[in-house]
């Protein structure tokens, strides 16, 4: 990315000295401003990202760089006899496909709920009420508690024998058998999604709350004078101004949910019977515990199209908005 900024020399400023060019020229200025971020990202990430993708095309194991095997980690076919062929590589791997569907489901569901509840909570918190400051801080607690530890707490809350939820429902007379939160595939999926939402809502809410503060009051005043009702005000005033922030927060939320690891690993480790494996946990299991670096890297490479799609949607969404505001002329 440095290169594009180096090609400076727009003709806007008439032949200034080198120093003033370095300080005032738009492109040079951009370059200086970009430096710290670019330096950290390039120094630390280019090699690992490249290597991560390279490994997916090797048969590397731990401590052994392996050799190039093309796309065999992804697709391979072996025939034991006529008509007795089996697909190998990720393509023929049922656990992998299971983890793909589970990841998509987990991400979609958790992100949608996080967004809906987060936005609702932000709007609620934007009201004036007693103890507002304390309340806003308390709301953030689920986000603050280190994930590994809150995951352990959830593991207990979902315990087959000591679940406080089951206990409560039993006392209320609503159930008579303790709920098997983590032993049944669907229960386990919902339980993890809930834990993820629990962790994610506070941040979405607080960020959107911050966004609400940037909505100019004059817009509301104007809308009020035009006789807009609450929904119209939200739809035509609040929401458009919030869009860029929503786009960023949700992109982030989708990316981080898609690559979620800690929560799953601490609570179910992918069980029962792989019902809660996500692509990230599966790749860790294969690469680190199974010692099969190439295959693990292939799984994480397989995540790239999804992540890329999420980024593109959000990025072009933002771009479009910029044009609407007519900011591109300049």
């Amino acid at each position: 990315m440095a290169e594009s900024t180096l090609r400076s020399g727009t003709a806007e400023i008439p032949t200034p000295g080198l120093w003033s060019r370095l300080v005032h020229d738009r492109n040079w200025l951009g370059f200086w401003f970009m430096m710290p971020a670019a330096a950290i990202l390039i120094l630390f990430l280019t090699y690992p990202l490249g290597l991560g993708i390279w490994l997916s095309m090797t048969d590397a194991s731990i401590g052994n760089p392996g050799k190039f095997i093309g796309l065999l980690n992804f697709y391979d076919k072996e025939c034991y006899g006529p008509g007795d062929c089996e697909l190998y590589g990720l393509f023929g791997d049922t656990v992998f496909w299971q983890s793909v569907w589970q990841t998509i489901f987990y991400t979609t569901f958790a992100s949608v709920v996080k967004f809906a509840v987060g936005l609702y909570l932000a709007l609620l918190l934007n009201n004036h009420m007693p103890f507002k400051a304390i309340l806003r801080a308390l709301i953030l607690l689920p986000f603050i508690v280190p994930t590994v530890l809150s995951a352990i707490a959830f593991w207990w809350i979902y315990d087959a024998q000591f679940s406080i939820i089951s206990w409560g429902l039993t006392k209320l007379g609503l159930i008579d058998v303790y709920i098997d939160f983590l032993g049944d595939p669907w229960n386990a999926r919902w339980s993890l999604i809930f834990a993820n939402i629990w962790r994610g809502v506070p941040f979405v809410a607080i960020t959107l709350l911050a966004g609400l503060q940037t909505v100019p009051a004059s817009l509301y005043e104007a809308a009020t004078l035009d006789g807009a009702n609450r929904w119209q005000m939200f739809r035509h005033v609040t929401f458009p101004v919030l869009t860029p922030i929503i786009a960023v927060v949700m992109t982030f939320s989708v990316l981080f949910t898609f690559t979620d690891f800690q929560l799953i690993w601490a609570i179910t480790r992918g069980g029962p019977a792989n019902a809660t494996h996500l692509m990230a946990t599966l790749s860790y299991q294969r690469a680190i515990l199974g010692g099969n670096m190439g295959e693990g890297a292939a799984i994480s490479t397989a995540m790239i199209p999804f992540l890329l799609a999420a980024i593109m949607v959000s990025w072009f969404g933002l771009q479009r908005r910029k044009w609407q505001q007519g900011e591109t002329d300049d």
Binding site: S61, I62, G63, N64, E78, E86, Y88, G92, D93, T94, V95, W155, Y158, D159, A160, Q161, F162, V177, Y178, D180, F181, L182, G183, D184, P185, A188, T268, R269, G270, G271, P272, A273, N274, Q285, R286, I288, L289, G290, G291, N292
Partner: protein, 438 residues
């Protein structure tokens, strides 16, 4: 608490190391110094060691271990820093260390860890021969886990026994005096326990230690196995289907929810009196002893029953220690392991570990810990009775993959929870195994 502070300070540096050593009796110190003087492995000058180990299961085991570390430092002048990580986190740390070629000089992990990167492990054949020759030879499983081809790449310092834990009162209520040693009798016991209101329960979730231990027992007991001697997948057999059906019956007699259990769940449930039988190391009993819980008088341990195959098919954790090739002090590392496993230390350590750990060298059969308490007795044989990861097949990376993928655990879990029929589950697991053993 004093002890705790000492242990802590030992971690921190030299000044405190002296304090730690002060705990060690002077006789022992004399011996240590003498040992160091004619140590079989001459440490490099100025050597320093970093040991990465799994976090203790038993406090007194760690205390005994740290005492030895202090004695080693005192005798040889080699500083030893001990890094603790929970058992499951040793492997990622080891992977990173081996990958970058820098890190701890000794890594102490589980099962077949050295076989994940055999080329990156220092050849320890001389050390293994020295110890084996001096202490009555290695148990067979130790040899399998330690050797890659003809070379020792890890020293299986000890094993962790995993046996049936049961409440005496509960099995009596179910009409049994002891745990039956045949499969049908065992099933009847579990069904009786359920009827008596204190069911059995064994982990069927992704629990590295407990789940693997009992599901492999169940599979092998029915004379089924994942692979044969040539690593050819032979899982798809009527025996494996029978094993699945047997486990399904067991599961139905268990307390609900065992498909979600991890390594800690059964400890919790057993100590709380929710289950009357489970499989575990000695950590439950030890916790009951240390905390003075009444349960200590109403529990005991038993072997796993023997199935149609006719021989014990137990599967206990191995704890091998390896020296990565990047270390600058391979001889100091060997000296450290030799010191650790000399009778003078090893015996104390076994006592400190209160039967949680079982020796891998035959000479330690008569350690006093095995006769100190009848409830600890059977753990003495864990290392001798255990089969190894991969069973008849190789113990290398493929068997490690199969275990880390929980293929056998999931096969049984799928049947037990009704997701698949026994036949489907076996076919499914066979497919997964073929992928790994290709």
């Amino acid at each position: 608490m004093d002890k705790k502070f000492t242990r802590r300070s030992v971690l921190k540096g030299t000044a405190a190391t002296v304090a730690g050593a002060a705990l060690v009796s002077s006789d022992f110190m004399d011996w240590s110094s003498a040992w160091a003087a004619d140590a079989p492995f001459k440490p490099e000058a100025g050597a320093k060691l970093q040991v990465l180990r799994w976090k203790r299961f038993i406090q007194s085991e760690e205390d005994a271990f740290m005492e030895q570390v202090a004695a080693f430092t005192k005798a040889t002048g080699i500083e030893v820093e001990v890094l603790n990580e929970s058992l499951d986190d040793v492997q990622p740390k080891a992977s990173v260390a081996v990958n970058v070629g820098s890190g701890p000089d000794l890594i102490w992990g589980y099962y077949s860890l050295p076989h994940l990167f055999p080329n990156k492990c220092t050849d320890l054949t001389d050390l293994a021969d020295y110890l084996g020759g001096k202490y009555g030879g290695w148990v067979p499983a130790a040899e399998t886990y330690g050797k890659s081809d003809d070379k020792w790449i890890g020293i299986p310092v000890c094993f962790g026994g995993n046996y049936i834990n049961y409440r005496n009162s509960a099995i009596e209520k179910a009409g049994f005096k002891e745990v039956p040693q045949d499969l049908d009798g065992f099933l009847a016991l579990c069904q009786g326990l359920k009827a008596g209101g204190m069911p059995a329960g064994m982990a069927l979730g992704h629990a590295t230690g407990d789940a693997n231990a009992w599901v492999h027992w169940a599979l092998w007991a029915h004379d089924a196995a994942m692979v044969d001697e040539n690593d050819k997948v032979i899982l798809n057999t009527p025996e494996a289907v029978a094993a699945c059906e047997y486990v399904k019956k067991l599961y139905d007699a268990y307390i609900p929810g065992t498909a979600s259990w991890n390594d800690g769940s059964n400890n919790k449930a057993f100590l709380a009196g929710e289950v009357g039988l489970t499989n575990n190391g000695i950590s439950i009993y030890q916790k009951a002893l240390v905390d003075g819980l009444d349960i200590k008088d109403d529990m005991d341990h038993a072997y796993y029953p023997v199935g149609p195959v006719g021989v014990p098919t137990e599967f206990h954790i191995a704890y091998p220690m390896l020296v990565p090739t990047y270390t600058k002090f391979p001889n100091a590392a060997k000296a450290f392991m030799a010191f650790l496993m000399e009778a003078e230390q090893y015996n104390r350590w076994l006592e400190g570990s209160v039967a949680y750990l079982t020796h891998s060298l035959n000479a330690f059969n008569d350690n006093p810990i095995w006769t100190s308490d009848p409830k600890r007795k059977i753990f003495a044989e864990a290392a001798n009775r255990t089969l190894v990861a991969g069973y008849k097949g190789s113990v290398g990376q493929k068997s490690a993959s199969a275990i880390s993928e929980f293929i056998v655990v999931d096969m049984f879990a799928n049947v037990a929870t009704g997701q698949m029929s026994a036949k489907e589950a076996v076919a499914d697991a066979t497919k997964k195994a073929r992928r790994i053993y290709r």
